[in-house]
């Protein structure tokens, strides 16, 4: 799909913020980091210009930067969050990262009872899914209200990835709804995400 796999350096004027890239015509699509105005394509970010070919044979311009770019949660984004508060109807959490981008400051989010899992929505008991302090991976469903984003864990891969048992050690998942403490061997209920084994491998390094 990539037409020019080699990056053009930003030292070429095209990659710099506010610079005119080219004339806008029907064969050109403005991708990320660009915008069109008065019949021209401009760069809206300091970075490296990429010229790509889209599926319908149009030319797509993107200016990419190694600085984390879009750092607000957007609809459909995967986020990592820490649970802060659990109530019977919903739980509150602090969003720590969006996609692969780590946020310096958290955003408030909430997972409603009906968004915890895809099946048997009416039988969800919040305290059997999340506890304060758990780290979850979730998807943004809507920007919510002025207060918080609305998140969902209704996918197999989404849910709790790290949880600490009452005995204080990191628990290991034993099923999609249970985790076990390696010390006390006690079992606790969680809405477990399927990525757990991979994750433990990473946290060991």
């Amino acid at each position: 799909m990539i037409l020019f796999p080699k990056h053009s350096m930003s030292t070429t004027p095209e990659g710099n913020l506010g610079q005119r890239i080219c004339h806008l015509d029907e064969n050109i699509i403005c991708g990320q980091g660009t915008y069109s105005k008065n019949g021209f394509v401009y760069s809206s970010r300091a970075g490296y210009l990429h010229k790509l070919q889209s599926q319908d044979d149009k030319i797509l311009f993107e200016v990419r930067s190694n600085v984390a770019t879009t750092t607000v949660p957007s609809i459909d984004a995967l986020v990592t969050a820490r649970i802060t508060n659990v109530t019977p109807r919903f739980c509150k959490c602090a969003i720590m990262s969006v996609g692969r981008t780590l946020l310096r400051e958290t955003f408030r989010g909430q997972i409603r009872k009906e968004d915890v899992r895809a099946t048997e929505k009416d039988k969800v008991e919040m305290y059997k899914c999340f506890r304060p302090g758990d780290i979850v991976v979730a998807r943004v469903v809507s920007l919510g209200d002025a207060q918080s984003y609305v998140l969902s864990t209704a996918e197999n891969e989404l849910g709790v990835v790290i949880a600490t048992s009452e005995a204080g050690s990191t628990m290991v998942p034993i099923s999609w709804c249970k985790m076990q403490c390696p010390k006390s061997l006690s079992e606790e209920f969680r809405k477990v995400a399927k990525v757990q084994p991979l994750f433990i491998q990473y946290s060991g390094t």
Binding site: D76, L78, M96, I135
Partner: protein, 284 residues
């Protein structure tokens, strides 16, 4: 765009963010810190003296990423009636919202207030500037030195940076020559001639962070500060001890304290050598 990134990848990044303590322990087991420093190693210290010409004295200090600027403004004031020949030293530390996301606009927060008092204590205890030296006319007119310390980049260990910038700024302070006219009872300032300020001693601060209740390391970064279970700040005054601050936190053994004292004194020598070097290079 995010729908393309897999959940596993999202989880990967959160390790360092979610478990910083475990992340640190792994490093400290091998007596090294994530930024490559040994436990007793300070970050590279950069000093720039006399960088602000609108101030009577100024200095910029960089301790790794931590950047602090001290500017000294001298003004006239009437002395207190109980100490008619004493001038004023007014230190204030500002942790502006510019230097870190932790600080919000508005009046100084707790940390800034604590720092201001700490700097004030050091100034008073070390007697590095004699307040009598700031007298122009007993009972009538004295100097007031406003020592404003502004943090520009907060990456931990503000106390050491503040004290260093203050000392360097005081050493570079040039006060305009003043004559007190007895007849008009007004001062006359010379717009060209200046006089240096006498610095009698050299307070230097060294901060240690306590990790997991037993491990001590010097010059903590902001992340290390947040993970530490306590801190110890030692201020030396040439060959004497000026002030020790240990605001709660984990208990420390006498042995550990001794190691800290030794390191603080050796640090003091390093810092004073640095200040002298810079001052010499300016004079030349």
């Amino acid at each position: 765009m995010y729908s393309s990134s897999k959940p596993a990848e999202t989880a990967k990044i959160s390790v360092r963010a979610a478990r910083p303590l475990e992340y640190y322990r792994k490093f400290l087991e091998k007596d090294v810190r994530p930024d490559g420093r040994e436990l007793g190693e300070f970050r590279p210290t950069i000093l720039n003296i006399g960088c602000i010409s609108t101030a009577e004295g100024s200095a910029l200090v960089k301790l790794g990423n931590t950047t602090v600027m001290c500017g000294i403004k001298a003004e006239f004031a009437t002395p207190k009636t109980e100490e008619p020949s004493n001038g004023y030293l007014v230190p204030n530390v500002e942790l502006s919202p510019l230097c870190s996301p932790m600080f919000r606009p508005g009046p100084p927060g707790e940390q800034a207030q604590v720092l201001s008092h700490f700097v004030n204590e050091v100034l008073n205890q070390s007697c590095c500037v004699r307040k009598e030296d700031l007298c122009i006319k007993t009972g009538k007119l004295v100097w007031v030195l406003y020592c404003d310390i502004l943090c520009l980049d907060y990456d931990g260990n503000a106390p050491d940076a503040c004290i260093l910038s203050l000392l360097a700024a005081l050493k570079s302070t040039m006060l305009p020559a003043v004559k007190y006219n007895e007849e008009t009872e007004k001062p006359e300032t010379d717009s060209v001639k200046t006089e240096p300020l006498h610095i009698l001693s050299n307070p230097v601060s060294s901060t240690f962070a306590i990790f997991d209740d037993h491990l001590l390391f010097v010059d903590p970064t902001v992340q290390e500060e947040s993970l530490a279970t306590g801190t110890v700040t030692i201020v030396t005054n040439d060959n004497d001890l000026c002030l020790v601050q240990k605001p709660g936190g984990s208990p420390v053994t006498a042995d550990q304290m001794n190691t800290c004292f030794e390191r603080a004194f050796s640090r003091s020598k390093e810092v004073l050598r640095l200040i002298d070097e810079i001052l010499h290079s300016i004079e030349r």
